[in-house]
Amino acid sequence: MNFFGEAKALVKANIRDYGMYIALVVIMLTFTIMTNGLFMSSRNISNLLDSAGYIAVLAVGMTLVIVIRHIDLSVGFLAGFLGAIAAIFLTQMGVSVWITIPTILILGALIGMVNGVLVAKIGIPAFVATLAGMLIFRGALLQVTEKTGTIIIKDDQFNAIGNGFIPSIMQINGLHLLTLLVGLVGIILFVYNEISTRRNKMTYGFEVMSNGLFSVKLVLISAIIGYITWILAGYNGLSWTVIIMIIVVVIYHFLTTKTVLGRHIYAVGSNPEAAHLSGINVQKITYIVFGSMGMLAALSGILFTSRLQSATTTAGTLFELDAIAAAYVGGVSSAGGVGKVTGAIIGAIVMACLSSGMNLLGVGISYQYMIRGGVLAGAVIFDVMTRKQRA
């Protein structure tokens, strides 16, 4: 097969995945042109990614919940509530950051597992069980902030999570050196990983991409990583939020694609009865997925509280719906068994790009909601159409 033929076949086979990336690039280019380049400025991209962080981590967890055919509506106010608890730990009880964060994460995981038990053991539909949770945590958030109102956090270490950047060793022509180094390491790791995977496949005698296309792929993705790094390095460098996002994606991507646990999650989503008959403990998987969702809700609460440097009485409002929207834009299917972690992150970034771009253009908030709704519907329509085509 010639080079273009192979490329075409590859795009055709992966149209759903590539479509999302293409959509992201188109959205970014459109806004860049309409704002005369302001959209792609270092400062804007940096802000955009930071503002996507707390939804992106929720979207990752939500994707897995939707993959196993459930939903979690409680995560928004759970994030708000746990953020407030973190604030109380830090301000009123004087607990150190290093104890507060793990405690909050564990608390989140435990609360998530309670949801899992309600759904898997007692058999309450996830929609209802987590709707109840949503009301309870909303009340709990109001309760803990009732006396004080907004709790302002003065802990610099904690606030750095949502606002700080990794330290720069030195500036070169106004570029953030450590960020550039991290980007470079990222590219090297990526290229090394791709080459070793390919070599491994070849030792098994499996079909691999042709040399030409493989090099193009390596160069293209390296260039994208490099470009984003370069943009970020032009402002304050990589933020801690972005670092946390990357860590979450790497861990969850590995977990879902390369482990037995991940395979069990997709098996349960794809056919729960068959999964049970295959010796998979469906209840246990449900606990784990809801537990992970709870933990990520806690993380989201920490990111958001830290970004505002305070816990407010309305924190977390509608986070769950933003996360569900991001997951669907990212290609998850409510029929179960289909959906990727990387898709969820891209979905969250697409939604953040829309908000940021429309803010720059001065689009009114009323239109912003409508356009975001339209994009969500469009993404799902595209998803359904491409699935049909393959059928």
Binding site: N200, K201, Y204, F206, K258, T259, V260, L261, G262, R263, H264, Y266, A267, S270, N271, E273, A274, A275, H276, L277, S278, G279, I280, N281, G337, V338, A391
Partner: protein
């Protein structure tokens, strides 16, 4: 007008990369029962989808002449209007609605803008009489067995004044009695002037009922056989279907090497708290190394329930009695423990609870034994491909690649994937529940051959089957079940169709 009610001329239909039908010619005379046979993937279902308008006009080439007119169906409702009724293998009824609501679903009898329920019930009663179904129209569908549901489907088709009725494997899920009733009904409809196309894998019933048999193979019409001219016989049909002679449907097994007892059940009872009765009642059986145990019985006799109660009890029955493996008492609390103990269960409903239809072949094969392709919880994806390839080759799974989505494979190949999945767990006892349901003769033969190879390697097989021929052809020993109990044990010398049916209907 010609003597044909239906003429399909030079029908061709292509899917991306595959030619599903090429120049198929298919003619049905008025008032004829015409059986359409062929291996899975031969194009029978595609042809019927072209006819019923599932694939709209323009999506295929060739002509459909129905009642003397060239028809251009754009959707299913067009073909229904013209007088074609189709009943699919998977029944399309609403379980929580009544019989009369189902019969007239989508075709409601109206008085002005409102549904006329009284008229509906009267008409439904008439139709139920016509199909000889003795239930009240107010019965809920879910309270009926599959056989009766099938009759409701036919009543539904009749409510729309059909001239041509298409039945896609109508007896696949039915027991012998229900099948017999259905065939009688089809003949009766024939007397009323309704023509019928029946897709079936059961050659005996085809011979029993067909006026004509058309054989499809690889998307082409091979021949049309005429029963009145004496052309229809089992051997001839099989020869045309597979394109070669199969001397015997059941491959001979030469050396029977039966060893020690592996599994022993005594006073084994399973109580289903949802149904409020014992689904398995005081069962004693034993399974020896290297033998095939046939478990015969009608549907609902507790065969599947028995298998599930052994296989880690996924339905949470309350179990009593004793189960021994290799002489030691075993209590298996979860399917995973059963798998670990060396039991595998290939389910009767491969699409419902056997396979992950959205996933590809390799991940289905590895699904029940991911330990075999992983280390400390981390998958070795290359190893998985290797394992998948091994089973694809050794089980003759026909697919374009290992990445093919299992939902798109034909029934026989799906069954082989399901079998591969369980063989990969390395079982000592393999429970096969209806191993050849809905698959074609060629694939059946391959599965029987595989079973014999497994026995030779020292595996034991428990085969649950509704097909008496299969039970008689493959087993070393037969248990007959009815109402949750073992009604008798037969050696191969004692076993005949008659002795089995006698015990099963006790």
């Amino acid at each position: 007008m010609s003597e044909y009610i239906l003429e399909m001329n030079n029908i061709s239909k292509e899917f991306p990369g595959v030619k599903a039908l090429s120049n198929v010619n298919f003619k049905v005379k008025k008032g004829e029962i015409h059986c359409l046979v062929g291996e899975n993937g031969a194009g029978k279902s595609t042809l019927m989808k072209v006819l019923s308008g599932v694939y709209p006009y323009g999506n295929y080439t060739g002509d459909i002449v129905f009642k003397g007119k060239v028809q251009q169906f754009n959707e299913i409702t067009d073909s229904v209007k013209a007088g074609i009724g189709i009943i699919y293998q998977e029944l399309a009824l609403f379980p929580d609605l009544t019989v009369y609501e189902n019969i007239f679903a989508g075709n409601e009898l109206k008085k002005g803008p409102f549904v006329d329920w009284n008229k509906t019930i009267v008409h439904a009663t008439g139709l139920l009489e016509k199909v000889k179904l003795k239930v009240t129209p107010e019965t809920l569908i879910k309270e009926l067995g599959v056989g009766k549901q099938q009759l409701v489907e036919i009543a539904k088709a009749l409510s729309k004044d059909v001239n041509l009725l298409i039945l896609d494997e109508p007896t696949a899920a039915l027991n012998e009695d229900d099948s017999e009733n259905l065939l009688v009904l089809i003949k009766e409809l024939q007397n009323q002037g309704i023509s019928c196309i029946m897709i079936s894998h059961k050659l005996k019933e085809i011979i029993n009922i067909a006026d004509k048999v058309t054989v499809l193979r690889d998307g082409q019409t091979i021949c049309t056989l005429d029963a009145s001219a004496g052309e229809v016989s089992e051997n001839v049909i099989i020869k045309h279907m597979v394109g070669r002679d199969i001397e015997d449907i059941y491959p001979k097994r030469l050396d029977r090497n039966i060893g020690e007892t592996i599994l022993e059940l005594s006073n084994w009872t399973a109580y289903d708290s949802q149904l409020g009765r014992n689904v398995v009642n005081n069962v004693q059986i034993e399974v020896k190394k290297g033998e095939i145990i046939g478990i015969a019985g009608l549907m609902g006799s507790g065969r599947t329930e028995l298998a599930l109660s052994i296989f880690g009890n996924p339905k949470n029955y309350k179990l009593q009695g004793n189960m021994k493996m290799y002489g030691n008492t075993k209590v298996l609390k979860h399917t995973s423990e059963a798998i670990k103990a060396g039991i595998a269960y290939v389910t009767e409903d491969r699409k419902g609870d056997g396979l992950f239809l959205l996933q590809d072949i390799k991940s289905n094969v590895s699904a029940a034994h991911l330990k075999g392709v992983s280390k400390r919880g981390i998958l070795n994806l290359n190893e998985e491909v290797k394992v998948g390839t091994e089973y694809k080759d050794s089980l003759y799974i026909k697919a374009s690649s290992l990445e093919q989505i299992v939902g798109k494979l034909s029934g026989g190949n799906q069954q082989k994937v399901s079998l591969g999945k369980w063989l990969f767990t390395g079982p000592k006892i393999l429970i096969l529940d209806e191993p050849t349901r809905g698959i074609d003769v060629g694939a059946k033969f391959e599965i029987y051959t595989i079973m014999n190879e497994l026995i030779k390697e020292g595996m034991s097989i428990i085969m649950i089957s509704s097909e008496l021929g299969e039970v008689l052809g493959m087993s070393d020993r037969i248990y007959v079940m009815a109402e949750g109990s073992i009604k008798g044990e037969l050696t191969m010398e004692e076993a005949t169709q008659e002795t089995i049916m006698e015990l099963a209907t006790q």
